[in-house]
């Protein structure tokens, strides 16, 4: 039996449907991350689970019990908010013990729970301070501690790290991972930061306009996205998309051509995929790390370097392909993002040629569903030696 199960959840605000018939299940001890663009309904979904929003229809079950009409405090969930939501008039100790105190737990028990949570989060020294006297990271620890003292069945996080600076964020990311293993607790975590999603999740739920696009492990989603949206959403810099047209297809292979690029790309369709009819619009997707340097029987993009970002261990190049443009690209100008795992000494304006290996690309059909995956993920690594 799944630990937390959402069945056909719908949440409407007047005429506007923020969450449209969403169903998924979370197993005991899983760390599920919900990602999606702003306004896609992540917070609404999370707040519905917490009981802060009344759902329009559907069911939310924890341990098989339908809790969708219960009071927030009776659901066995604890939530950590983006802006901490600590009670300013209480000390850290009182903040963390408040739920137990309201529930009528004896003082000794409250104290023990607070001490235990404080030890896990290493905030023992802060217990008698007011929230105002804490740094952002400490405040978020206290907010997490407040959730821990309640020992809930499910932890809910709504973008808990987005108010922190980058260094603190990666530190807290590790901390949260440790916490998850240590407590073995079920956690549902909302973020729009894909690094958080990729690094922390046991499974990722990708939401878009109130529906689930795909659920899977981080690498599943990265390697085998169901559609163009998921493919473009995960990965930074995002996948390069090239608008193309299908030509003839035969024996599970399809040839595609794109304006401005010589020759056609012969791509192997995934098993069971319908081949696009000749002339239909398709999209070729190339991960930044999948661009090759030697001709592998595909396209060759000759361009010049528009921007180069040297990160020491790796290098990102934004390539101006002349007439050939990436659609929907990270840079609005339609530059191609190229990733290299080594240092490159080049400057703005220098020429650069990259190749597109037909075995290393994604292909999206006319309805944006994925119809071809790269042949092997090793070939990607191969290409960039």
């Amino acid at each position: 039996m799944p630990h937390l199960e959402i069945k056909n959840l719908v949440k409407k605000y007047g005429d506007f449907t923020a969450v449209k018939d969403v169903s998924f299940a979370v197993e005991q001890g899983e760390f599920v991350v919900m990602v999606g663009p702003s306004g896609c309904g992540k917070s609404t979904l999370l707040r519905s689970i917490a009981g802060l929003e009344e759902i329009s229809s559907g069911e939310i079950c924890i341990n098989g019990r339908d809790i969708s009409r219960d009071e927030p405090s009776d659901r066995g969930v604890a939530m950590v908010f983006q802006n901490y939501a600590l009670y300013p008039h209480m000390t850290v100790r009182q903040n963390m013990g408040f739920a137990l105190k309201i529930a009528g737990a004896p003082k000794r028990e409250v104290n023990e729970a607070v001490e235990r949570a404080a030890a896990i989060l290493r905030i023992q020294e802060q217990l008698d301070k007011r929230p105002k006297a804490l740094s952002g990271g400490q405040k978020q620890r206290v907010a997490i501690g407040r959730a821990i003292t309640r020992s809930p069945d499910v932890f809910l996080f709504d973008e808990p790290l987005s108010n922190l600076d980058a260094a603190l964020r990666s530190q807290m990311r590790i901390e949260l991972g440790r916490l998850h293993t240590e407590l073995g607790a079920t956690m549902v975590y909302v973020t729009h930061d894909q690094t958080e999603a990729m690094t922390m999740a046991s499974r990722i739920v990708v939401l878009h306009d109130g529906i689930i696009e795909q659920i899977g492990t981080p690498l599943d989603l990265y390697n085998e996205p169901h559609n163009r949206f998921v493919a473009g959403f995960l990965g930074s810099p995002r996948m390069n998309f090239i608008e193309a047209r299908a030509e003839q297809s035969r024996e599970g292979m399809v040839s595609v051509s794109a304006p401005g690029l010589d020759g056609s790309l012969r791509i192997k369709l995934k098993a069971g995929a319908d081949a696009p009819a000749p002339g239909e619009k398709v999209t070729v997707g190339v991960r930044p790390e999948a661009f090759g340097e030697h001709d592998a029987g595909g396209w060759t993009i000759k361009g010049s370097i528009a921007v180069i970002e040297s990160l020491g261990r790796e290098t990102l190049v934004y390539l101006d392909g002349g007439q050939v443009r990436a659609t929907d690209s990270e840079s609005h100008e339609g530059y191609f993002a190229v990733h290299r795992t080594r240092q490159i000494t080049a400057r703005h304006g220098d020429g650069l040629t990259v190749t597109v290996d037909p075995n290393a690309v994604f292909l999206f059909g006319p309805d944006d569903e994925t119809i071809a995956f790269p042949q092997s993920h090793h070939s990607i690594i191969h290409n960039q030696v």
């Binding site: 917490a50 009981g51 802060l52 009071e71 927030p72 405090s73 969930v77 604890a78 939530m79 908010f81 802006n83 939501a85 600590l86 009670y87 300013p88 008039h89 408040f98 739920a99 309201i102 529930a103 407040r146 309640r150």
Partner: protein
């Protein structure tokens, strides 16, 4: 920029200083006049007394200033308590409701703010008298509270609209019901709003004259503004004693105001947002 800036500053400070003098001089005159003799007040209204004396205070005190002071304190205290509790809870519910009938209720409360005391004096008197409450403290506390509630509700309403929702949501998850949220989370964090509402109402009630004159005729129940009136006879008036009585009346509220003005100013400044 520097000299121009300084010039503007000088003008502003000058204007504010003048205004302060304008407000403060009558107060100073009141205190000085209370230690003059009756003759001196009329012969040399602006001069200093020949001799500093306190007998006007004694005369004022002897007509029962102590009782009036006590009555004023009790009535102000209870009125303010009723006002703060009632408006606080009303404003909270109104600020958190999307119901259009609730919006109407709020509008009506705002409209109530616009009704002048004098307009309803007669019916109010009849109501209180029919209820057999004349010459009781409740007869004055209830109308004061009724007059204070609209303004205070508006003040609290604005404050609660800006109150961070997450805190209430966190409290709900922590197991608080509506009342617990109000008393454990909202009220403790409403200090500035409560302080300014309380001061505002306290000053008004402490100084209120017409209603008190009408409702309280027994000397034992009179408040300061009405009580001081006893120092004026039909043909004569003991002006130094009246000034002494007024000084006694002004002192407590002035002290409270000075002590709490920080909150008062902050909360009123917040209203303009």
């Amino acid at each position: 920029m520097g000299s121009r800036f300084r010039f503007v500053n000088v003008v502003l400070y000058g204007a504010v200083s003048l205004w302060s003098l304008f407000v403060l001089l009558p107060l100073v005159w009141m205190v000085i006049a209370s230690s003059k003799t009756r003759r001196e007040i009329f012969l040399d209204p602006l001069g200093l007394p020949a001799q500093f004396r306190l007998d006007a205070f004694e005369r004022a005190w002897s007509v029962g200033m102590g009782t009036f002071l006590f009555n004023s304190a009790i009535i102000t205290f209870f009125s303010v308590i009723v006002i703060v509790v009632v408006s606080g809870m009303a404003a909270y519910v109104l600020a958190r409701s999307d119901n259009k009938w609730m919006q109407l209720v709020y509008l009506m409360i705002v409209a109530g703010f616009a009704v002048p005391v004098q307009a309803v004096l007669v019916p109010l008197f009849q109501m209180v008298s029919e209820a057999g409450m004349l010459n009781s403290r409740a007869a004055i506390v209830l109308p004061y509270a009724a007059y204070g509630v609209p303004f205070t509700t508006i003040l609290f309403y604005a404050f609660f609209l800006d109150f961070p929702r997450e805190l209430e949501e966190a409290a709900r998850l922590d197991g608080c019901g509506r009342l617990q949220i109000f008393f454990r989370i909202i009220l403790p964090l409403s200090g500035p709003a409560i302080a300014s509402a309380a001061i505002f109402q306290a000053v008004f009630i402490w100084n209120e004259f017409v209603l008190a004159l009408l409702m309280l005729t027994k000397p034992a129940l009179k408040t300061l503004p009405v009580g001081i009136l006893q120092l004026t006879g039909e043909f004569t008036a003991d002006w130094p004693a009246i000034m002494a009585g007024l000084s006694i009346a002004v002192l407590p509220i002035l002290l409270i105001f000075i002590l709490a003005q920080k909150y008062f100013v902050r909360s009123l400044a917040g209203l303009g947002k």
